[in-house]
């Protein structure tokens, strides 16, 4: 309550105090809009004409840039650039180039002026926003086919930064990203920081339940880590171990289960092929008996066996 009152107080103070005058800078739009720009930039060298095959290039959608200020809707008033003799030294307001001395936030401003809603509401404070990722770091708005919007092309864009995940997708067990049955955005909303790990749902488990709803429960006999966080046992991007487990059982299970008797016995390489050690080591190991590791609804399933 104390903190809440403090917050209310400072918000009131914020609006009670006057701001200083804005330092305005007058800029001028071109006289002919896109025709001014495309006079030079329509050649293949600039690779911009693909935009007319995208929704940005629509001349009928009143919200599309080309139904409004055309090129300058994103690049800003560009009359000075057009009139300049040395155009490289007088670039438009926003070039979106890698070496543009603008912060990612400044580069993203033209995009966010239209795309601040829907999946982008939670952009501010998200991991990507915090890491200074610009919209153009992933999106190619002049291309007829923006690779990141393509089911197969998307992961290649993501892998440019998330290189370790590409390695994960090549492991023996994992989700089918390399087959195109899933994409990164099947689980991640990369624009929304409200959810954990930029996921599509509030947290890891709710995201997993989107496809694995049978594990949602609640069950009569719950397995605590399964209710807490699926990633305590699984590596969702890929693993060396079946079911994308973090480690092989029995050691995976023995990290947490130490009751006297078979759960806490040490099995070494010498035990392979010996009885009764094999029954705890091989085939499905612990899960040969304890199959219901995600929870059991059988009144006799307290040991996650039924």
């Amino acid at each position: 309550m104390k903190a809440l009152l403090s917050m209310i107080l400072v918000v009131v103070l914020l609006f009670a105090l006057p701001g200083s005058a804005l330092a305005d800078e007058e800029l001028e739009y071109t006289s002919k809009g896109a025709d001014s720009c495309l006079m030079c930039h329509r050649s293949a060298k600039w690779n911009v004409m693909g935009i007319f095959e995208t929704k940005h290039g629509s001349l009928t959608d009143p919200n599309a840039p080309f139904s409004n200020l055309q090129c300058e809707a994103c690049h800003g008033p560009s009359a000075a650039h057009m009139k300049a003799k040395n155009k490289a030294e007088n670039p438009p307001m926003h070039t979106f180039a890698d070496d543009e001395e603008a912060t990612a936030t400044e580069q993203n401003a033209p995009c966010m002026s239209c795309h601040s809603g829907h999946s982008n509401i939670g952009w501010m404070g998200s991991a990507h926003e915090s890491s200074d990722v610009a919209c153009v770091s992933c999106h190619s708005v002049h291309d007829a086919h923006d690779a990141v919007m393509d089911p197969l092309g998307q992961q290649e864009v993501c892998f440019e930064c998330h290189q370790r995940v590409r390695s994960d997708t090549l492991k023996a067990h994992g989700h089918p990203l390399r087959f195109g049955s899933m994409t990164c955005s099947s689980c991640h909303n990369v624009h929304d920081g409200n959810n954990d790990f930029l996921l599509t749902e509030d947290n890891v488990n709710d995201t997993c339940y989107s496809c694995h709803a049978e594990k949602r429960g609640p069950f009569l006999w719950e397995h605590a880590p399964a209710t807490e966080d699926c990633s305590l046992c699984h590596k969702p991007h890929g693993s060396n171990h079946p079911a994308s487990l973090n480690r092989r059982p029995p050691l995976l299970c023995q990290q947490c289960h130490s009751a006297a008797g078979h759960p806490s016995l040490a099995y070494t390489g010498d035990d392979i092929g010996t009885q009764p050690a094999d029954r705890f080591l091989r085939s499905r190991s612990c899960m040969s008996c304890h199959s219901q590791v995600h929870g059991s609804n059988h009144p006799s399933g307290s040991s996650q066996m039924r």
């Binding site: 023996a172 049955s181 392979i272």
Partner: protein, 693 residues
């Protein structure tokens, strides 16, 4: 401590709002609205009409195995039809159609379509199948595979005949949705999705005593999901209210099976419960408000409810326990979930810029499932002492404060504080607190060179460990489960990007996470993950490109356990080493030809060693080797027709001591399905005719 941390974060969030407006104004730029009467846009050439096309041809697969066919759907040896395409329609009045189709003649088919009027409304629909092929040499004597009643043939006895039993499933996902954006600043969405999963999966049923029977268990899942949302998007305020309802139904509530390892004490038949149906619904409110260019807030609130109330099975199928009363006929399980998050961002214009951000997130899983005393019957014959169920619940809070300073275009510095607190119910550790600091430097000394270094140092404290509830077997009192044990974590990330010219990109990355559980005598002691990566790409003048990548990763862990209180602990060590690399080329020549190749290699090794009393023979190394070579050529015959050829080979080789050499009778007391680790070397040839509108 908890209150102090929360208070600190809430004050930090408040601080985002606390600086008077006059101290922090970014320079703004304005321009008068232009006179657009001369903006004829004669160079704006929008290609109206139909575009895209369809692909149809044949794919030849040489001797596929289940592992190769897994997810791909290429399970038939020989020729299979290949159909797909991508394209749409663009109308002058804004109407449009888009479609994407892939593998239409295979079990991995995907079809997406969308139509509407841009900026006003759209309809969308999709259909997808995801096939799984998990049985590699699996066999079973059971009859009735695929149903919930598995019986042994009359007169069958151990050592009797068995038949190949494919472990296959198919997930189908059908979805439809509608969006209306015809009102200024408002958007309405409704979506419906139905997922079904049918087939079989491997299941292990425990039988007396520490014995088990593996059999193909039936899958007949369906999940319906409905989403609806209304959204307002203004210049200052964006707000969305959304509802989500999901219902899961299992066509089989249980599976009953003859016990091939029966001892004859009433355990001839056993029955296992399958996943019960459940439902979940959630209401969320998501919003963002931009007070000024330099002060923004965003947040989300969710409230949900989950239920599960399928009828219980009796304690046992054994008629000897038919009169054993259950405390209730069904669980009446109920979860109440909630989440709220608030994040604030303050941008202070000092030199090149200073940002203060703070976020706070709280969530709860309040498990209101009633607690009762049950009297389980193990293996259909063994009466256990009374047990009470433990409906686990969580109360989490997480927050961070970060100061970002863009000292210059060349130098960016970030530093911050993070905390997370989790309260658990019915678990050994009721509360964990974690907090720590992080710092990040991004240095761009030249436009062609960008370096980023981030370091995190976190420390987690756990409340005293005390076993809760009535267990059949008490855990070792020294056990500290790793998700709620004291932990020190150091994490390092470094990345170097070099772009000596526009057409060249080189990237080096290093990751390291080091977790130490110093207070855990029994349990996970430490784990370490390290990876290095290298990426390269080059774009030629002609539009052709080459690329290469390399990643090496090591995952190590050490744990300790002991057979009973006071016993000398033993140690377990695991190490996974993964190497993956690849390269490729794609190019175009003489305008009509496109060609390329890709090579991907991945090699994994998993070593496990358990040392008990000073010695321990390592387990054989787990290995997986994947190699994929792909060549493709496309030729445009004319403006409408083209031909595509693709040839690829994929080889996969695994060695897994858990299953290799284990036939159904190899392990005393475990009746397996004889699964083998998969190996294959498969060639695929694809020829396609492409028609473009």
């Amino acid at each position: 401590m908890k209150r102090n941390r929360k208070y600190r974060l809430q004050l930090a969030l408040a601080a985002c709002l606390a600086i008077p407006a006059g101290t922090a104004l970014a320079a703004d730029t304005t321009a008068d609205a232009p006179d657009t009467s001369n903006w004829v846009c004669k160079f704006c050439v929008v290609p109206y009409g139909w575009y895209g096309g369809a692909d149809f041809g044949l794919v030849y697969v040489d001797d596929p195995t289940p592992k190769f066919a897994d997810y791909r759907g290429l399970d038939d040896d020989g020729f299979t039809l290949d159909l797909g395409g991508e394209g749409g329609y663009r109308g002058e009045n804004g109407h449009y159609v888009e479609y994407y189709a892939k593998n239409l003649a295979l079990d991995s088919r995907i079809l997406d379509a969308e139509a509407g009027k841009q900026g006003t409304y759209d309809f969308r629909g999709s259909y997808q199948e995801i096939p799984r092929y998990l049985g590699h040499g699996t066999m079973t004597p059971f009859e009735g595979v695929g149903s919930d009643m598995l019986t042994l043939p009359a007169g069958w006895a151990a050592g009797g005949p068995m038949e190949y039993a494919a472990l296959e499933s198919n997930r189908t996902i059908g979805a439809a949705g509608f969006t209306f954006k015809g009102l200024d600043k408002w958007r309405f969405d409704v979506d419906f999705e139905r997922q079904e999963k049918d087939g079989t999966k491997s299941f292990g049923g425990g039988v007396f005593y520490v014995n088990a029977v593996l059999f193909p268990s039936p899958l007949n899942y369906s999940t319906d999901r409905f989403d609806a949302s209304v959204e307002y998007t203004g210049k200052m305020l964006q707000l969305r209210a959304e509802y989500m309802g999901s219902e899961f139904d299992n066509g089989y509530s249980s599976v009953t099976w003859d016990n091939p390892l029966a001892l004859g004490f009433g355990d001839d038949i056993s029955r296992t419960a399958l996943e019960p149906g459940n439902e979940f619904q959630q209401f969320s409110l998501v919003g963002a408000i931009r007070f000024t260019d330099w002060l923004k807030l965003t947040g989300k609130f969710s409230s949900g409810e989950g239920k599960q109330n399928d009828a219980f099975l009796p304690y046992s199928i054994n008629p000897d326990f038919a009169d054993r009363p259950l405390p209730r006929e069904s669980l009446n399980g109920k979860l109440e979930t909630s989440m709220y998050r608030l994040a604030g961002r303050l941008h202070v214009k000092i030199s090149k810029g200073l940002d203060l951000t703070a976020s706070y997130k709280a969530s709860e899983r309040d498990n209101k499932t009633p607690i009762d005393l049950y009297e389980p019957v193990m293996f259909e014959i063994d009466e256990q002492g009374p047990r009470s169920n433990r409906p686990y619940g969580y109360d989490r809070s997480r927050g961070d404060v970060e100061l970002r300073w863009r000292a210059s275009y060349q130098l960016r510095l970030n530093a911050g504080y993070v905390m997370e607190e989790i309260e658990r119910s019915y678990q050994e550790v009721l509360k964990t607190d974690e907090d720590g600091y992080f710092g990040e430097v991004q240095w761009t000394p030249l436009a062609m060179l960008d370096m980023r270094l981030r370091y995190e140092d976190l420390s987690r404290d756990a409340s005293p460990s005390e076993q809760q509830g009535n267990y059949g077997r008490a855990e070792n009192p020294l056990m500290r489960k790793y998700n709620m044990a004291d932990r020190d974590r150091q994490r390092l990330t470094a990345q170097l990007d070099v772009t000596p010219m526009d057409r060249v990109g080189v990237s080096f990355s290093v990751w390291s996470t080091d977790d130490s559980y110093d207070q855990s005598v029994i349990g996970l002691n430490d784990s370490e993950e390290k990876a290095i990566s290298f990426d390269f790409n080059y774009l030629f003048d002609s539009g052709s490109s080459i690329y290469a990548f390399f990643t090496q990763e090591t995952i190590e862990a050490r744990m300790a356990a002991a057979n009973g209180d006071g016993a000398t602990p033993w140690n377990g060590f695991t190490e996974d080493e993964i190497l993956s690399w690849g390269f490729g080329f794609s190019g175009q020549f003489k305008e009509k030809w496109t060609w390329g190749f890709d090579y991907v290699y991945s090699d994994s090794e998993g070593d496990i060693q358990v040392i008990d009393g000073g010695s321990g023979t390592p387990f054989p190394t787990l290995t997986t080797e994947l190699e994929n070579i792909r060549l493709y050529v496309d030729y445009d015959v004319n403006d409408h027709w083209g031909i595509g050829l693709e040839l690829y080979n994929e080889s996969y080789d695994t060695s897994d001591w858990l299953v290799d050499g284990v036939d159904p009778y190899t392990i005393d007391g475990i009746f397996t399905m004889g699964e083998e680790s998969p190996d294959y070397d498969v060639n695929v040839f694809r020829v396609l005719a492409r028609y473009r509108f």
